[in-house]
């Protein structure tokens, strides 16, 4: 497995954060999100940033990967900065002036505050997917969705669907590659012409991919029925995630910390 992944993709190193129960992490992320929106001044933000920094360090995820999400958001961040920083005919001392628009000290600080808040949110929440495997996430999600069964929401079945989708991602990717190579060997070109032409060139790849997907689904359904799958009710699990005292401690303390920071600072 490569250490470099797409934005937010699981990084397979070992750390206390990786070993934490997925549900505790999901809970922490929720509390962190609440906390960070409660922060209303710069000191609070700096303390939050320190907290996030400590979390990244403890997770042993390489910093350049942890910060990758920021790169994708450059435009939004710039826009946020400007939206807060630019003033119309500011009365105070300005740092920059372009016609009627100006950037002054307080405006700039405000812009930095909001932009930084977005950055912290991105880095903090991406830690969840960086340290938790898709399977752990799916299991955690099923647990969280369980109360919805009261309103007839098929939590178990949805989780099974997600698991199967995850299981078949590498397989489907391999298959797509094979089909593309085969069609290329028959002279198909995927890099010629404008966007419309290129999209049409993918039809000979997408059609067989979908046909095979349906065939696959049918055979899989037969296999599942043959192995007595009747939906999510009554199923036991081989590997069940258990919340350990350390998970509870992390959740409660970490959660309390971010809420306190938010309220006090």
């Amino acid at each position: 497995m490569r250490l470099t992944g797409g934005f937010g993709q699981y990084v397979p190193v070992s750390s206390p954060v990786h070993l934490m129960d997925a549900r505790a992490k999901m809970g922490l992320v929720a509390l962190f999100t609440a906390g960070i929106f409660l922060v209303d001044d710069h000191v609070g933000l700096v303390v939050m940033a320190l907290a996030v920094g400590v979390a990244v360090q403890v997770s042993r995820v390489p910093w350049r990967i942890a910060l990758r999400g920021i790169k994708a958001l450059t435009i939004i961040l710039a826009f946020t900065l400007l939206a807060h920083a630019l003033r119309w005919n500011p009365a105070t001392v300005t740092l920059v002036r372009i016609g009627p628009l100006g950037v002054d000290g307080p405006g700039l600080l405000e812009g930095i505050f909001f932009a930084t808040r977005i950055m912290l949110l991105v880095v903090g929440t991406s830690l969840l997917t960086l340290t938790t495997t898709p399977v752990q996430l799916t299991d955690g999600l099923e647990y969280v969705m369980r109360p919805l069964r009261v309103v007839r929401f098929p939590a178990g079945e949805v989780a099974m669907m997600l698991t199967i989708a995850l299981r078949f991602i590498p397989t489907t990717a391999q298959e797509a590659e094979k089909i593309m190579t085969a069609q290329a060997a028959r002279g198909a070109r995927f890099d010629e012409g404008g966007p419309l032409r290129r999209a049409k060139a993918f039809v000979p790849v997408l059609v067989p991919l979908f046909v095979n997907l349906f065939r696959r689904a049918e055979e899989l359904a037969v296999a599942m029925e043959s192995r007595c799958y009747r939906g999510g009710e009554g199923r036991t699990r081989l590997n069940v995630a258990v919340m350990r005292p350390s998970d509870w401690a992390a959740l409660v303390l970490g959660g309390a910390l971010v809420i306190v920071i938010g309220i006090v600072l």
């Binding site: 898709p134 399977v135 698991t163 199967i164 995850l166 299981r167 590498p170 397989t171 391999q174 065939r215 696959r216 055979e219 899989l220 037969v222 296999a223 599942m224 029925e225 043959s226 192995r227 007595c228 799958y229 009747r230 009554g234 199923r235 036991t236 699990r237 081989l238 590997n239 069940v240």
Partner: protein, 270 residues
């Protein structure tokens, strides 16, 4: 005992029945080979054994349970394991052990026993140690053995395999056949559907289907002694079987089921 009695089945819109008055039995511990060319009804019959399909005429009984009995379906499916042709499309789990556990998990088996069953099933197919492996990293032969393990984890009394080696290369085929041979000692009744005669030359009984009807039901020796009959039925005859038949015609005394060079040459030199 799996008892298929005078079963007739027609697919919607089909011109002729896929199965027409077919009767076959599989006793506990018995290995029955089901042969026939494409369109003979082999796959349809396989799906009758675990109530995926139910007959229009006739009955299919599994240890006394009727496959048409809705209440018995899940007990039947835990009694009859089913393995299909394509290894890839039977694997549900994201890692090997989770996939093997899928069946007993559905039955609500307690967690400690799940672990025991998973490890036992993996050992039975020679995949012990690969518990945490991701399926897409397995060879085709390993994937098919994983599918077999998934069926064995239900602790079935019977195992129905629909062309289990059709999509495998020589190595994968040898691995799967070795596993099936090993299973015979455990008392599991096996219905092995295939078009390759040499894969099932050591079966207890061979049944040949031809256009939905039973054209032969007897021992392998009886079938191999009449290779022209087998060829007419569209069976994939190993060249050695044709050779042995020609030699027997010329008066040489060789057992009709002989498939190896040594036996033939020894017989010639006597």
């Amino acid at each position: 005992m799996i008892e298929i009695g005078q079963v007739t089945f027609v697919y919607p819109g089909a011109e002729r029945p896929a199965l027409d008055g077919v009767s076959i039995t599989v006793a506990p511990g018995e290995c029955v080979a089901l042969l026939g060319s494409n369109g003979s009804g082999k796959s349809t019959l396989a799906r009758m054994c675990n109530a995926l399909l139910v007959p229009e005429i006739g009955t299919v009984m599994v240890d006394g349970m009727d496959t048409r009995d809705h209440d018995a379906i899940w007990r039947i499916r835990s009694r009859v394991g089913f393995v299909q042709q394509n290894p890839e499309n039977q694997i549900v789990g994201t890692v090997v052990e989770e996939d093997v556990a899928f069946g007993p998990e559905n039955l609500g088996v307690a967690r400690e026993e799940l672990r025991t069953r998973v490890d036992a099933a993996l050992a039975a197919v020679g995949l012990d140690g690969l518990q945490r492996r991701e399926p897409h990293l397995l060879s085709e032969g390993q994937k098919q053995r994983l599918a077999i393990a998934g069926a064995l984890a239900l602790e079935p009394a019977y195992l129905v395999l629909d062309e289990p080696t059709a999509m495998l290369d020589g190595i994968g085929r040898a691995e799967v056949l070795a596993v099936l041979r090993g299973l015979r000692a455990t008392g599991v009744g096996v219905l092995h559907i295939t078009h390759r005669l040499e894969d099932v030359s050591d079966a207890d009984r061979m049944v040949v289907l031809d256009r939905g009807r039973v054209a032969f039901d007897g021992t392998p020796d009886e079938l191999l002694a009449a290779p022209r009959h087998a060829a007419v039925l569209g069976l994939d005859l190993p060249p050695m079987t044709v050779l042995v038949a020609a030699l027997r015609d010329a008066g040489i005394d060789i057992p009709p089921g002989a498939l190896d060079a040594e036996t033939v040459v020894d017989a010639l030199w006597r």
